[in-house]
Symmetry: C2
Subunit: 189 residues, 2 copies
């Protein structure tokens, strides 16, 4: 449909992830796509506009993973498992956007940033928190502050959400992660 627009977003994602928002340059993004900077500005209003589209697309992906994980199974522990596996199954460039979103969101103008933050809360953090809270209320999990548990879970993912993979055998990492996390959440006191 719109191959240049798609290629520009892909290239911008690559550069933002690799060099950060500030470190990336509009000229190099355009050059890498074989067009001039003016062509880039024809399709996107500005640098922040690129970032906004990138993080919005990322949010769509992770929100879909969480929603699918919740639908997949009734047991809350299995929902968590499905969600973590789903997040690891995202293409590596998508995962790296997690870092980008956390770090460079400040470059969006106030309205866009607040809109993203609100969407992130309702479409990603809130459903995740609901899984944890549901697990605690169903006595599947030991009682902890659900929000804190979600932060711990996302933090555990963080080191592996890099553009440069930490290890070749990711399935072992996912297994260890889920084992430590779920043992920690389900251990009897």
């Amino acid at each position: 449909m719109d191959p240049l627009r798609t290629r520009l977003i892909a290239e911008a994602t690559r550069q933002f992830v690799e060099r950060g928002f500030d470190g990336a340059s509009m000229r190099e993004i355009a050059d890498a796509c074989g067009v001039t900077k003016a062509a880039l500005y024809y399709h996107y209003a500005g640098k922040a506009d690129l970032l906004r589209d990138i993080v919005a697309g990322y949010l769509d992906q992770v929100a879909a993973v969480v929603a699918a994980g919740r639908r997949a199974t009734p047991k809350f522990a299995d929902q968590l498992r499905a969600i973590v596996r789903g997040l690891f199954a995202l293409p590596v460039e998508s995962r790296a956007i997690m870092r980008l979103a956390l770090h460079d969101l400040r470059h969006l103008d106030d309205a866009d940033r607040e809109a993203f933050a609100a969407d992130y809360q309702t479409r990603f953090l809130q459903p995740l928190t609901d899984v944890v809270r549901g697990g605690i209320e169903a006595r599947e999990f030991t009682p902890h502050h659900p929000t804190t548990v979600v932060w711990l879970l996302l933090g555990m993912l963080y080191p592996f959400f890099s553009a440069t993979p930490r290890a070749t055998d990711e399935s072992q990492i996912v297994a260890d992660l889920l084992d430590v996390l779920l043992s920690g959440l389900t251990a009897r006191r």
Copy 2:
């Protein structure tokens, strides 16, 4: 002794943490200290030189925390507890440097970056890994890949190592974190 040099490093840390390495400007760092940019360059060879000193000071702090935690107690689980509490007890600006070091290390020249990476490995990651491995060998912890466990632990800390604190009651977070992590590591299969 050397108050300007100290103030420059403190201000540079503040700006690097707040706006990132690329986003911070030498002029503004100097301005905030009430001197010109040239004065800054009299004390530091360049922007990367500032970053090098900042992350080196950070490494000294976290290495000291790990060493103290290892000495404090013979039980490996208690060593982990002491280390996590020690890391959370660091001043908030020190903790934020963890993000800085992970993200902006690429701005150091090859020699400095490799030197830091080596120091980080031997003085921080290795001792931490030894605690986990020791705990596994002593059958305090369930068997997992020690390196992975260290990454999971550091990741769990990560969301709380921000310049803007996540919560007012950090002791509750530390307690939840240690509970989830150590339950996860000590649960019987």
